[in-house]
């Protein structure tokens, strides 16, 4: 932390100066929100690191949207803190330049054109109107810019919301289910866009229940269920913690199984048509064992555990 960092409990730091180490970082600590008797979010802690796409996963009603809205200062937390670059969202002088957000489908006034909607936002963020044309072109809405947004499709509304989020050229993007309503082309485009956005050293926090989409985009993962954090870390760490297995089709399954057990690979199951499933090893290891035992191998494939299965195991409360 830089010398400017506010000391907790010490004298209040008046400036909105951001400690250098916090650029692009979101820090959520002990965050909780009660709506009446309902605990929407409970004791949630995680960080979003600059230069990465963080996937925010959870089933419907798990508290994802509430958490994102607390980060953005739209919902006041009951407990804990959500800090954007070290300070609460509302303490930023010009929040639109720090963080851009795509929340629920939130186009604009149905009678207002997309261009007018973006120009109003551009005025508030203090960026020139030329920036409006840039973001319109970026999301592919230039031709529809003078149409009232009331006639927009779900996908067009999502593109408009993304355009608005990008107006201030923010260091952080927060997206709540951005894939909703996008066609496959749009989803592929968004995936590439988010990856390049993060590769430029900025950060992305994207929520989804589309697990496969997150798996392809995110490097880090936060999984919540019933308002509680189930996992927070690199997606690779989650994958490595899962025991994958190798499917192998040897000339002599029984002989290979014997050889594998002798090598300490005891979880060997015979599956259909002379295939063996070997847990706790990769293809190289199995191939070496087969070669040493002098058994011909006709086919071999590594079976990866998909994020979906990991996700379901997480939600079932299993340890990962």
């Amino acid at each position: 932390m830089a010398a400017h960092a506010p000391t907790i409990g010490g004298p209040t730091v008046q400036s909105t100066h951001t400690p250098d180490g916090n650029v692009g970082r979101i820090t959520v600590e002990g965050l909780g929100k009660q709506f009446g008797p309902v605990d929407a979010v409970r004791d949630l802690s995680f960080t979003v690191e600059p230069g990465s796409v963080t996937g925010f996963l959870g089933p419907n009603g798990s508290g994802k949207t509430t958490t994102l809205r607390m980060i953005l200062g739209l919902v006041g937390p009951s407990t804990g803190t959500a800090l954007v670059e070290g300070i609460p969202f509302a303490a930023h002088c010009s929040p639109g330049r720090v963080i851009g957000a795509v929340l629920e489908v939130q186009g604009g006034h149905p009678k207002r054109t997309a261009r007018a909607h973006l120009r109003a936002a551009a005025a508030a963020i203090e960026v020139p109107d030329s920036r409006v044309e840039e973001v319109l072109a970026l999301v592919g809405l230039t031709d529809a810019a003078d149409r009232a947004v009331g006639g927009y499709s779900l996908g067009m509304n999502q593109r408009l919301a993304l355009a608005a989020a990008l107006l201030g050229d923010p260091r952080i993007l927060v997206l709540d289910e951005p894939g909703n309503g996008l066609d496959p082309d749009g989803i592929a485009w968004l995936r590439a866009f988010l990856q390049s956005f993060a590769a430029s050293g900025r950060s992305v926090l994207v929520s989804s229940h589309q697990l496969a989409e997150i798996e392809l985009t995110a490097q880090r993962l936060v999984v919540i269920d019933h308002g509680r954090c189930r996992f927070d870390g690199p997606i690779d760490a989650l994958r490595e913690s899962q025991s994958g297995r190798v499917l192998v089709r040897p000339a002599d399954p029984a002989k290979l199984a014997e050889a594998l057990v002798a090598e300490g690979l005891t979880e060997v199951d015979a599956v259909d048509d002379g295939w063996l499933a070997v847990a706790g090893a990769d293809a190289v290891r199995v191939g070496d064992v087969a070669l040493a035992a002098g058994i011909a191998v006709y086919g071999m494939t590594e079976e990866r555990v998909g994020l979906e299965q990991m996700f379901l195991r997480l939600l079932a409360g299993e340890n990962v």
């Binding site: 907790i8 407990t79 804990g80 800090l83 002088c93 109003a120």
Partner: protein
């Protein structure tokens, strides 16, 4: 770690620099001019101005010897038109602020400016638009009235100017009151119904109850002058009553027109309306500042 332990920014930092307020205001102006609402509300205003002018001049034409009083009638007609237009101004403010919740654009607004800045810019824009409604009425009323009256005696320029200025002020304050109500009651239909319904019916009922069985003596009856709608009416009707120059009778005419007992001077009435407006905006700032946008 609890919320209280995080060092919050000082008051000055929370208010933010002036350029941010101007930026959010510019955004609000662009939002206002990019939808039709502000000029669609001109339709009831023109209709009101026409109706009042015709009504006033019809009396002048029907009543024998009314030509001498026509300036008073025109001023009275204009004052009552301005009173009605101030309700339209209030409706504009309520529509503008509650519309942000209805169309969920409030999220975008709060992501690009602080809540104080958003409320402040709405206050300024609503005051400006409602004052423009008042100005239009003040210009249109005498023109239409004069056209119908032909060569009749028109009120003096000074009387028209002062009534026009008071009218613009009353309209502006009602526009701001509307913004506060629309922030406190984010349901758009509810907010507009509250502003219009209170102005047209609610306050009359309230004043009636306060004055019941009373000959202007009780505290409650005197308090009727301090209701926001009546306060605005007192300020507006002071000009025609003064023009009539009836002395003590003038006070009774004013009491009749504004529906109050023992009215204070017009400038006090304006301050009363200002106080109501300031209180409503302060309440809206607190409630709107804490509201969860889900």
């Amino acid at each position: 770690m609890s919320t209280a332990e995080v060092p919050g920014p000082g008051l000055l930092a929370r208010i933010g620099p002036g350029h941010r307020w101007r930026a959010v205001l510019r955004s609000e102006v662009r939002k206002t001019t990019s939808v039709r609402m502000y000029w669609l509300l001109l339709i009831p205003i023109v209709v009101l101005a026409l109706a009042m002018s015709l009504f006033g001049s019809l009396i002048t034409l029907l009543v024998p010897g009314a030509t001498e009083t026509s300036p008073v009638l025109l001023l009275a007609g204009l004052a009552s038109t301005l009173s009605a237009v101030s309700i339209v101004g209030g409706a504009f403010g309520a529509l503008a602020s509650s519309g942000e919740y209805r169309h969920r654009t409030v999220t975008q607004a709060f992501l690009t400016g602080s809540r104080g800045q958003v409320l402040g810019s709405k206050v300024v824009v609503a005051a400006g638009v409602a004052a423009a409604y008042g100005l239009l009425t003040a210009l249109l009323g005498p023109l239409l009235g004069g056209a119908v009256l032909g060569g009749q005696t028109l009120p003096g320029a000074g009387e028209l100017l002062s009534l026009g200025l008071v009218g613009m002020l009353v309209c502006a304050l009602w526009g701001v009151l509307g913004v506060a109500v629309g922030t406190l009651v984010p349901n758009q239909a509810g907010a507009v119904a509250l502003v219009v319904g209170y102005s047209l019916v609610g306050e009359n009922v309230l004043a009636g109850v306060m004055r019941v069985g009373d000959d202007n003596g009780s505290v409650f009856a005197r308090l009727t002058s301090f209701l926001p709608g009546n306060a605005g009416d007192i300020a507006l009707y002071e000009s025609p009553v003064n023009a009539a120059g009836q002395g003590a009778d003038g006070t009774q005419i004013l009491e009749f027109l504004a529906g109050v007992s023992s009215p204070p001077p017009g400038w006090v009435a304006l301050l009363v309306l200002l106080a109501w407006t300031a209180a409503a905006v302060a309440l809206a700032a607190v409630v709107g500042g804490r509201r969860d946008i889900t």
